[in-house]
């Protein structure tokens, strides 16, 4: 129906445009803004693909937490002299060639294989099925994920909380 194709191409324009700008724009804060736009477009795609719980998770985690972390990092590490520093290193040409070659190779491989497309009706309430699957079949990855989060937390705290070098001048704030 035309509603879905309109949504698909609209989101495609938004996603591809935002990701190209996120990668190419000089000011890193603007890059973070375009990243948020791209993440929101991907959440829109999840809704189009009947994965509404995933769309909510995507917005909640990526836009609500990871993007905030990226913006905090940008705020903490941008220095005035960065405006004149080159944003891209000298291998831009080579990078472009590698990216285009990779794109062509993968797309050709994907389009030549015949996928077993099944036309079963998509699950309506996927939060419930996801929850049931998570609790019954995928219990081991579920528990290992908590161990991984614990390791990431301890690692991040050890790295970030280490006060090396001269005491920061802005201790007062």
């Amino acid at each position: 129906m035309t509603g879905e194709s309109l949504a698909f191409y609209g989101l495609a324009f938004m996603l591809v445009g935002a990701s190209i700008l996120a990668v190419s724009v000089r000011n890193v804060f603007h890059a973070a803004m375009y990243l948020i736009l791209a993440l929101f477009a991907v959440a829109g795609y999840f809704v189009l693909l009947n994965a509404e719980f995933l769309a909510a998770v995507q917005v909640l985690i990526y836009v609500g937490a990871v993007a905030v972390l990226v913006i905090f990092a940008v705020m903490l590490t941008t220095r005035l002299t960065d405006a004149r520093v080159r944003a891209h290193n000298e291998q831009v040409g080579a990078g472009l060639v590698v990216a285009v070659a990779m794109f062509l190779a993968i797309v050709m491989a994907m389009w030549s294989t015949s996928w077993p497309i099944s036309d079963a009706a998509p699950a309506v309430d996927n939060v419930r099925t996801l929850g049931r699957m998570l609790m019954t079949r995928f219990v081991l990855p579920f528990e290992i994920a908590s161990v991984l989060l614990l390791a990431a937390m301890i690692g991040a705290i050890v790295i970030a909380a280490k006060e090396t070098g001269p005491p920061q001048s802005e201790e007062s704030t």
Binding site: G10, E52, L60, V127, R132, M135, S146, A152
Partner: protein
Amino acid sequence: MDISSYSAVPIFLGFGVLFVAFNYFLNSLVTRNVAEPQKYDSYECGEVPEGSAQIQYNVRYFIFALIFVLFDVEVIFIIPWAVVYKDLGMFAFVEMVLFLLILILGLVYAWRKGVLHWFTRPVEH
């Protein structure tokens, strides 16, 4: 409620942008801008602003953002568990207790390391 019900979200977002742009346009229509150089300095309670605003701020904000990302991710696992909890029996409860204990360990570690405290420098053990 199939996915066509989500068509309202982009319409609301678009309408919101139009509503805000219309208000700004209304504002620009009614006001007249008197160009006055001092007016466009950044606001420093009246003094002349010196130095750039982008001085580095302390790392404390960053550590809170770090811990928040990990706790937010953990909460995402609890949502599907909470939705199906009524149909699952005791074992789902035990699984979740295990999951939460491991992560509360992380919170206790952050607490003992003094990272959650705002002003003092993290105490080195």
